[in-house]
């Protein structure tokens, strides 16, 4: 058995892996780098797949890197990692190859969770998990002829996909098992107006239920049964109930704690020569908190940092670990600072303006999460105050106000106060 040894092997060519590869190339030009990925095509914006599959986004805008771009490292595409041997520093690949590494970056990401009815992982024609470009292409070809659609999962991916489908003239039913859509990131009160907005686009939203059986005709989806017993006729079933770390091949590597691939803020696993980033990892902070910031911006930042860290004597920490997300749901901007943690207090405005909802999840006087819907002014500075763990305390109600300026009240407290004071004074005169 011949083993080719590389200085750095990167498993996964998503946002995290490709940024890691580019950063490592730039910083350590002499090192020999190999990147492997299970998909045939890499270098695309995964978050644009809902727009792509519904025909809103042309294919040429989907890629940030093309297969023939000179990258300066070797790639193996359509090849999965099968096993990791840490004693030998060997990685076995699906094509029978064994590669050696000095440093390893695990960026293999997640795989879609499938509902229990697909436990055998055999999906009938017309049912698709929304995750990879290959599947998105199949959905894109399938949709024009099959426009009655059930979307399972009212999270970010499910909601966004439903909106694009409805705007494209499809008949969409969105099924969510929790009492409201976006359950992991919004409180019920904030989700309600957004849910109304989505329903007004013609999407049939079913909450507190899930799909527990589908009926097929010649291996094609014909209808789906809700747990309430109702049958929904449909030709397409899209599954967007989230992803789970793809860590099966690490089972014997002794890197997994429970079900988690845990890394330190420097993105190292318990083996300091093995880094892990992106949707596969749990980051443990110095305070012992566990974070799973599985977002695109985090994947990019972590990728760059891991590439930079690869051959350094000590690993620098990732700049910030936040799970913030932004969406524009057909004209309504939505900023998610983070989901409600256990025991956090919800602070929101008692009398919201029409079309505007802002809420925070607070622990002591720190913002730990929240959402801005309709009015996103000040979102950036707020995000960074949250990430820095700054105490905002009594200022929270002020941040809940409708605002048109982003900057003033954030960092220029005294100036902003002066301006407000003057405004109050002028109102007094008029009265």
């Amino acid at each position: 058995m011949t083993v080719t040894t590389y200085d750095l092997v990167i498993v996964g060519g998503g946002a995290a892996g490709l940024n890691a590869a580019a950063a490592a190339r730039a910083r350590f030009p002499g090192k020999r780098v190999l990147l492997i990925d299970g998909e045939e095509e890499i270098g695309y914006y995964r978050t644009l797949l809902p727009m792509f599959m519904t025909g809103v986004m042309p294919e040429e805008k989907l890629f940030f890197q093309r297969p023939d771009d000179p990258v300066g490292y070797e790639t193996r595409l359509g090849v999965r990692a099968l096993a990791l041997d840490r004693e030998q520093n060997h990685l076995s690949l699906g094509n029978g190859e064994v590669v050696g590494y000095e440093r390893l970056i695990l960026a293999q990401g997640g795989r879609p969770i499938l509902p229990p009815m697909f436990a055998d992982r055999r999906l009938p024609a017309g049912s698709f998990p929304v995750r990879s470009l290959a599947v998105a292409r199949r959905i894109k070809d399938w949709l024009p002829e099959h426009r009655r659609i059930v979307v399972l999962g009212g999270g970010l991916v499910g909601s966004k996909t439903s909106v694009f489908l409805a705007m494209g003239g499809c008949q969409v039913t969105l099924v969510e098992k929790e009492p409201h859509i976006l359950p992991t990131v919004l409180s019920e009160r904030t989700a309600a107006p957004l849910q109304r907005h989505i329903a007004n686009l013609g999407i049939d939203i079913r909450v507190n239920t899930t799909i527990d059986e589908i009926e097929t005709d010649g291996n094609k989806v014909t209808r789906a049964r809700l747990s309430t017993g109702e049958w929904l006729p449909c030709e397409t079933l899209l599954i967007g109930i989230g992803g789970t770390p793809d860590i099966g091949f690490l089972a014997d590597s002794d890197l997994i704690d429970g079900e988690e691939l845990v890394v330190n803020p420097g993105l190292q696993t318990r083996d300091p020569n093995i880094f892990a980033i992106g949707d596969a990892v749990t980051i443990e902070t110095a305070e012992g908190e566990h974070h799973q910031p599985w977002t695109w911006p985090q994947a990019v930042s972590q990728g760059k940092r891991a590439g930079d860290n690869a051959f350094r004597p000590s690993a620098a920490p990732v700049p910030r670990v936040t799970r913030v997300n932004a969406q524009n749901i057909s004209g309504i901007p939505l900023m998610i600072l983070g989901g409600p943690g256990v025991g956090s207090e919800v602070v929101s405005r008692p009398d919201p303006d029409p079309g505007v909802w802002r809420e925070f999840f607070m622990e002591a006087d720190r913002i730990v999460g929240g959402a801005l819907v309709g009015d996103i002014a000040g979102a950036g500075p707020l995000h960074f105050r949250m990430a820095n763990g700054e105490a905002v305390g009594g200022e929270a109600p002020q941040h809940l106000q409708r605002r048109t300026r982003a900057f003033a009240a954030e960092s220029w407290g005294r100036l902003a106060r002066a301006r407000r004071a003057r405004r109050f004074a002028m109102e007094g005169e008029r009265a």
């Binding site: 913030v324 932004a326 900023m335 500075p381 900057f407 002066a418 003057r422």
Partner: protein
């Protein structure tokens, strides 16, 4: 790398920079009179913040490790190779506002009417940025980052001189031993 610096001691908060930024960079007509009649009304890429005591035009800092560049989901935000400026490719922007969320200075502005994010690119393809050109008090200047260190040292010196003068030359400032 050349950047715009703003001098809080000279800014009067007149917002001429905002008007001409919007006119020069966002309007079809390129004159103020035509710009205000356009729909949607052109938006500026910088904002004057602060109040009557002190005001300051704020625009993109073009951070060296820009969080917005990492955050952009579509490749619309890029750094220009020649000038080093971060700018938005408007045809790639999908108006998701993720960059707005990732700007610690709050200087990326959503423009829902046109469905793209608006930010200062230091008018890098023009001789002088519009805002710098029109500022009546010369509160805005273009400066090479390399020179900036010298400028801030000068400023500190000036501030120290003022503070010393304010204490009748004793040179001890804000030292409250009793408290």
């Amino acid at each position: 790398m050349k950047v715009i610096v703003a001098r809080v001691d000279r800014c009067t908060g007149c917002r001429t920079c905002e008007l001409y930024c919007a006119t020069e960079r966002g309007s079809e007509g390129r004159t103020l009179l035509q710009a205000v009649q356009e729909t949607p009304v052109p938006q500026p890429r910088l904002r004057v913040e602060g109040g009557p005591d002190a005001s300051l035009p704020v625009q993109c800092r073009h951070c060296v490790e820009a969080p917005c560049l990492d955050a952009c989901l579509t490749g619309a935000l890029v750094r220009d190779e020649t000038h080093g400026m971060v700018h938005v490719k408007e045809d790639r922007c999908i108006a998701c506002w993720t960059c707005v969320m990732f700007c610690p200075y709050g200087v990326i502005f959503p423009w829902p009417d046109r469905k793209f994010a608006l930010k200062c690119d230091r008018c890098m393809h023009m001789e002088t940025p519009a805002c710098v050109d029109v500022c009546p008090t010369r509160a805005l200047e273009v400066i090479d980052l390399a020179e900036l260190d010298g400028v801030s040292a000068e400023k500190r010196k000036a501030a120290a001189t003022l503070a010393i003068a304010a204490t009748d030359g004793e040179g001890v400032v804000h030292l409250d031993l009793a408290g």
